[in-house]
Symmetry: C2
Subunit: 322 residues, 2 copies
Amino acid sequence: MAAGVSVATASKALNDTGRMAPETRERVKRAAIELGFRPNAMARGLLSKRSFTIGLLTNDTYGRFTLPLMAGISEALVDHGVSVFLCTIEDDPALAKIHVDAMLDKQVDGIIASGKRIDRRLPVDLGHLAVPVVYAFTDGPDDSVRFVSDDAQGSREAVQWMVGLGRQSIVHVTGPTTFASVKVRADAYSEIIGAGAEILHGKWSEAWGHEAVAQLWGGDRPRPDGIFCGNDQIARGVVDALRERGVGVPGDVSVVGFDNWEIVAAATRPPLTSVDMNLKTLGKEAGLTVLAMAEGKSVEPGIRKLPCQLVVRQTCGGVEAG
Amino acid sequence: MAAGVSVATASKALNDTGRMAPETRERVKRAAIELGFRPNAMARGLLSKRSFTIGLLTNDTYGRFTLPLMAGISEALVDHGVSVFLCTIEDDPALAKIHVDAMLDKQVDGIIASGKRIDRRLPVDLGHLAVPVVYAFTDGPDDSVRFVSDDAQGSREAVQWMVGLGRQSIVHVTGPTTFASVKVRADAYSEIIGAGAEILHGKWSEAWGHEAVAQLWGGDRPRPDGIFCGNDQIARGVVDALRERGVGVPGDVSVVGFDNWEIVAAATRPPLTSVDMNLKTLGKEAGLTVLAMAEGKSVEPGIRKLPCQLVVRQTCGGVEAG
DNA sequence: GTGAAAGCGCTAACAC
DNA sequence: GTGTTAGCGCTTTCAC
C-alpha cells in the first residue's frame, strides 16, 4: 500500500490493535488521512456482524412524535457511528413487513418501534426477530423494553402548578376516552382535585376547545378559573374561545396544555404553558438502549416512564411564583 | 445446502440468472422460502458496489418540509428495495460532515440534500462526492440536479383564483424580503395585479398576519377584498384578525395561504384555501432521480420546477365557481 | 445444467 | 514488528 505496508498492518494501525512500531502506526495513519481513506463499512460489517445501523419504524405520518424522538436517537447514536433508517408505515401491515424485511436484510443492529399513541401497537410483529427491538411511545409485548412519558406525573405538575397559583375550580378538557393517555392524565387530575373534579371529553381539536368553553360558559353554572387541557390544540381552542368571550387569560382563567407542540403553543395568544413529554430525551434513552442490547448487554424488560416537564409561558400567570 | 445444491446454484436460482433446470430453480426457491432465507445485503453489496441505501440530509429540524419529502422518497424507493438514512444537521458544518462521512462509509448509493428554503445551501460541500447527489428544496451548485416547487405558478393560481371570484383589490402579505421565494411569489402576484399591487413584508408568523390587518384596516384607506398570504401562518393570523374585526371571510374578504400545512390550514376558521407545493411528489422525483444516477444513467443538471396546486377550502368562497 | 473456485474489502490468527 | 493466510456471505466466471 501507499505507506509501504501490507493491508493487514494498515488495518491494525488504523484500528489501534495488534503490536507494531508506534512510528509505523503513525506513518500509516498519516497516509490514510492524506489519501482520504475511509474503511468500507460493508466489508467491515460482513466480518463483525455489526452494521452500525438501526431502523426506526413509525406510523406517525406527520412526525409530531417521531421527529423529536428521531432527533434524540440520532443525537445519541451519531457519536457511536450509528446511522438511522427512518421507515414510515401508514398502519399498513404489508408495508411494515416490507420495511422490516429490508432492514433485516441490511443487517440493522436493532430496531426502534415508535408510534403516535402508547396504547396501540404497530401493525407488525417484532416479537421474535434476530435483532433487539425497543419500543418508544408505542405499545409492545410484555417481555419487551418500552419507553413512555410519565403522563401522570406531567399532569400532576400541571394541575399542581395551577393550584399553587391559587386556582380554586379547575376543569379538565381532554380527548376521546378511548385513549389510554386520556385516562392516565384524567386520573392524575382527579386525584389532586378530588370531589370537584370535572372532565369533558371530545376530539383532539381546536374546535373541541371552543365547544368546551361554550359548554362551560354557556349555562347558568359556576365558571372555572383553571382549565387543564389534554393537548395543545384543545388548549389553543380554549384560549381563543375565552378571548372571544372577553374572559382574561391568565387574568380570569389559567390554561395549561399538553405536548408542548412549539408550533401551537408559541402561536397561541398569549403563548401557552404546556407539559412537554421530553420525547427527545426519550429517543436518546431508546437509542442507547438498543445499542447496548446490540452489543450483547442484557437489559431488563418492562416499561420505563420518563418524566415530563412543565414549560411555563403566559397562559397561567404567576411566572414569578415559580 | 438444504435443497441439495451448491451455493452457486442457489444464488443463480434465487436471482433468476444463469441456466438451469426450471425444476431445480423451483425447488431451490421453495426451500429458500421454507427456511426463511434472506440474502445478506452487506455481502451482496460488497460485490455489487450497491447498498440499496440512500441518505437524506436536512437542516429542517421541525420536519415541516422534510417529512413530506421523505414520505415521497420512501414511497418511490421502497419498491426498489432502497432504504433511507435520515440525517438532521442543525446548520452545523461539523455535524453535517460526520453524517456525510458515515453515509459514505456505509456506501450509500446516493444522497438527497434538502432544507427549509430554496435559496440557501446546506453547510457542507457535496460537490465532488463519489456518489450522486440531488438537491430537493435547497440550493446546490450550478452543475447539480435541483428540484424545487414552481412558486411563481402556485402564486399565479392563487391570485387568479381570487380574481376569477371577482375580487377587485387584492394585497399580498408575506415574509421577509431576504427569502428568494418571497420575491418569486410577490413578482408573480404583481404581474397579475399590475398597477394596484401592494406588498406587505413581515415575519412568517400569525402575529404578523394580525398586524398586517391592523395596518390595512387601521387607517383611512380603501379596504382590500382579497389577501394573498406568503404562508399559512400569516394567513391564519389574517383570518383571525379579520374575524375579530367583524370582517367576513370569505364574505367580505377572500384569503389564500401558501404551504398547505394541514395542521394550520385545517384549524383555521373557516378552513384555509392554500397553495400546496406537492413536496411528496417532489420527493418521489428526487428519489427516482438519485436512483437512476446511482444506476449510471446520466441526468441533465439544472433546476426542475414542479407545479404547485391550489387546495380549495373555505376562505375564498366560490367553491362552486371552480 | 451444475458445481468448484475466485474475489469483493476488510480483520483475526498465526507465521516469520 | 510485520506480512501471509483464511474467511465473513454472496455472485460470477469457467470447467465439467
